[in-house]
């Protein structure tokens, strides 16, 4: 029963969030700010994880496909596909669910328990819209940028491995990276990213907005936000893959 309560309240919140903003100029400024908070400040972690994961994926693929029947360039090909299709959009979104989701839930949750949200309401501001909508829009714009970056860096990590170690020849790797490249894969990855961005920001916003109590509950909301948005990312990953690739 609790599940239905949450789902109902979540959709009611969505309706509230999507109401026409009081003042477009203020929302625009908030969006820019949030793009910085959500996007630019995640650059570091996204970059590090991407490079290392790309390197590891390459090494793993190389060792596990070391068979005379398989051409060596298959390693480059497999690395590229796994990075573009799953690793960059899904894993990085999961990382962002942890980083951005906890931040959003605790920020909004703190505003709730210190009555800052009440203060907004009193002024006649649509508090849920004002606090959550700019984050949703910002993430839906900036996350695809992060994901594309992650794709490049992941592949770069793989290239570095093949260049500096003797896991496999660089020329084979590059041939594999370019082999039968389908732009549709990028489109698929970005659609997923945008949906995941929506999931992360709205679910975290939801948990933050409906926090009750004090500092302890803010921590709880932030954990719930990360757990729930991760689960929904995984579920929607399955659904979208089925819809877009099958």
């Amino acid at each position: 029963m609790k599940l239905f309560f949450h789902i109902g309240r979540y959709f009611m919140l969505l309706v509230q969030i999507l109401k026409k903003p009081e003042k477009a100029s203020i929302y625009r400024r908030q969006i820019i700010l949030e793009m910085d908070n959500i996007g630019l400040q995640s650059l570091g972690i996204v970059a590090i994880i991407s490079v290392f994961m790309g390197a590891v994926v390459t090494i793993q693929t190389a060792f596990n496909t070391d068979h005379p029947m398989l051409p060596r360039y298959a390693v480059g090909f497999a690395t590229r596909q796994s990075i573009i299709l799953e690793f960059a959009p899904t894993i990085i979104s999961l990382i962002l669910a942890g980083k951005v989701g906890s931040r959003i839930a605790s920020e909004i949750g703190t505003m709730r328990v210190t009555e800052q949200i009440d203060a907004l309401e009193i002024m006649g501001v649509n508090s849920s819209g004002f606090l959550i909508l700019p984050k949703v829009v910002a993430a839906m714009i900036i996350n695809p940028v992060l994901i594309v970056l992650s794709m490049f860096l992941g592949i770069f990590g793989g290239w570095v491995v093949s260049a500096v170690s003797d896991v496999m020849p660089v020329s084979n790797f590059i041939y594999g990276i370019l082999y039968e490249f389908a732009p549709y894969d990028i489109f698929y990855a970005l659609v997923k990213t945008v949906v995941f961005a929506f999931i992360i920001t709205t679910i975290s916003g939801y948990y933050g907005y409906f926090t009750k109590g004090g500092a302890l509950e803010v921590g709880q909301s932030s954990t719930d936000a990360v757990v729930t948005s991760s689960i929904f990312i995984i579920i929607f990953n399955l659904i979208l893959t089925q819809l877009l690739l099958a």
């Binding site: 003042k23 203020i26 210190t114 009555e115 009440d118 203060a119 309401e121 009193i122 002024m123 006649g124």
Partner: protein
Amino acid sequence: MIRVVNVSKSFDEVPVLKNVSTVFEKGKTNLIIGQSGSGKTVLMKCLVGLLNSDSGQILYDNHQFSTMSFAERRVIRQKLGMLFQGGALFDSMTVEENVIFPLKMFSTMTLEEKIDRANFCLKRVNLENVNHLYPAEISGGMKKRVAIARAISNSPSYLFCDEPNSGLDPLTAIVIDNLISEITQEFDITTVVNTHDMNSVMEIGDKVAFIYKGELWWEGSRFEILKTENKEVNDFVYASELMRTMKQ
């Protein structure tokens, strides 16, 4: 003028407000007094619609507030200023941005006019040269005063203050009390103040409503409160040695 008619509110079956009816008049400083936990904050939150009362009505100048839609409430809320017991400053914004915020959201002023207005309000609460500090960088009493400045920045027609001078030194407390009383008369607004400070009562209480365990127990002027025979009111008013000595 705000009229409260038979407002009741309970939390999980525990009644906090029981059939409260009263009138808060325009141009007067209306005080709600009572012991800690008597329901003052809950009553104020019901007045502004942050809590929905279980029954009863709240009328703003004869307009039913309790049944208004969000859009209708917004019209009233833009004419409303509220000071929260905990200040509730936006901690991602500087002092100046906090005070400007209501103007930014709804007024058509230029940035310069808004900053002038913010400086004017900050000056009235005796704050200068703190414009660019964040709430975390100022003292508790200063936060309270910034919150008052924010509450009055949009020139409200209804002003609600929940414990405006708790946490302030006696001198600043009187300055704040007088500020509230002055702007109430100057701009002919309806002001409601929660307090348990007898100094404030004697200083500015045009009308005093005494809440006792969620009931409206007694109401009258600050002069009447000294003479009433009501036991609970007397216990409250003459709680301190100073007041008892004065009475004798």
